[in-house]
Point group: C2
Chain length 298, copies 2
Amino acid sequence: MAEIEPNWEWYRSFLQVLETGSLSAAARALGLTQPTIGRHIDSLETALGLKLFTRSYDGFAATDAAQELRPYAAGLAATAAALRRAASGQAAGVRGVVRVTASEVIGVEVLPPILAALRAQHPGLSLELMLSNRADDLLHREADIAVRMFRPAQDALMARRVGGVELGLHAHEQYLAHHGTPASLQELAQHTLIGFDRENAFIRRVQQEYQAFARADLAFRADSDLAQLAAIRAGYGIGFCQVRLAARDRRLVRVLPQQFALNLDTWIAMHEDLRGSARCAATFAALAEGLAAYIEGR
Amino acid sequence: MAEIEPNWEWYRSFLQVLETGSLSAAARALGLTQPTIGRHIDSLETALGLKLFTRSYDGFAATDAAQELRPYAAGLAATAAALRRAASGQAAGVRGVVRVTASEVIGVEVLPPILAALRAQHPGLSLELMLSNRADDLLHREADIAVRMFRPAQDALMARRVGGVELGLHAHEQYLAHHGTPASLQELAQHTLIGFDRENAFIRRVQQEYQAFARADLAFRADSDLAQLAAIRAGYGIGFCQVRLAARDRRLVRVLPQQFALNLDTWIAMHEDLRGSARCAATFAALAEGLAAYIEGR
DNA sequence: TAGCCGCTATAAGAATCCGAATACCCATGG
DNA sequence: CCATGGGTATTCGGATTCTTATAGCGGCTA
């Protein structure tokens, strides 16, 4: 038992093998060769005193032990990436890489013009957009700035509320032309409803406030908010959509505006450590301004 | 500009140089040699395109850039250490290393017998104790299990409330013999009071509830809760102390028990990822049981 | 002021690690 | 049934990296 501290580089190889499923693929991804990766895994196994993979002739199979270690290795990779981003923006002025995470709808429909304008203003700046609804992106350093529809709970974050995004029921005018416009909650039950497949905080709130949207009543379900939006636009049926977003397309009509309305608080959050970073501060400010403009309908 | 991805091993050298202040010391700490560390730093500087240290003949001086990158490097080290702990406990049964964090008083006065009993039960288990009041230990993976006097706010944590620790004013009987026992809040003002030097959540609560303990009135201040406890035991004056703790020493007398009482919720928290770990589950259970016994005065 | 200690920088030999080539295994498809 | 493609294991020469050693610099102390 050598009791050797593993070389951190071995962790990188380990993670890559986990993610690609084979030594060869990991080697390609890392710009190394298969024997090298194989040696790294061997070394790591002896250093940890664990069997990480069961060898076979079509790729490695990760053992349970390897799977348990995976989140740690992924954490290393995320932190290393964050370090690189931080380093890229060290020089004076607004330059370097900023990684922004947001929900799919916001990321696709709202952020691009905001980020484009920001980028035009700062040619040295690069922006990366990561679309997900996971709340822990910032803590795991997977992103620098997050746009979220709920108040970030973590202590180490700087969070600013930029306003409330109004959600309402919408449908395409063609759909309404064919099926009529519901005038009441009862009539809504006769219509094709678009809703969520996956349970999440948002849909629980909807179900709580509006029994009509109980999961069983939905004629279309999709994990992705974007898919729902596309379904509404395609005239599939009636679904929830941000009011400001729908207002951009004259053919989208709001349904039952009095009866159905939800307000989602919108927050921008950033890790405290990045307070001094010019590129992050500039991006934060641009997002705050741009989202406020979006919310107010400018 | 080579645009090379830094070797993760360089980060380890970088952090060690930051922490030790010189190439040579870092080399000793890592079991390498000074020219090696020097080359790592050089490589990292060119890879990141940053000047990390200003060379001088008595150690390096870290630049601002290096200081900004420090938390990331520390995060890497913490995650790597957590990975090793996780790996050490992979084998079946309760074995490996568990790292517990707690406040100083709990860690010194309450936990040792609990941990000793646990260890006696599981000879393959090693325990590490880290004493601090920082809330983010678990998220940065600096510890596996935390004993805290407030409800952990993070989502990714499993937290269990084990009860309320009662705090009260105490003094040594010798002190009271010399100065008398205060019978009212007014009399307390004539006495020597032991309190906190640093502002924190606890003292703010005390000040809010008991004006007598405004900071200016304190005749003895110490950052460390242990130092306060020692002062009480030494007969220096009257201060706050856990009631159960004071009850162990017959010469410590509770003062104004009706007027002054604070109840601190006590929580045990663990990262969700560790749920499946036998060694962490066993430690968690032992802490829950032991702390409950302490709180109930068993 | 001389001497010592700890530090960094540099050069050259030793040890290590990597990569190319190869052998072999398995699944797939004509 | 054989050819093919993607995978792992192994070997060996060569490039890279580490260590050893040496020199130079600055601060401290006698």
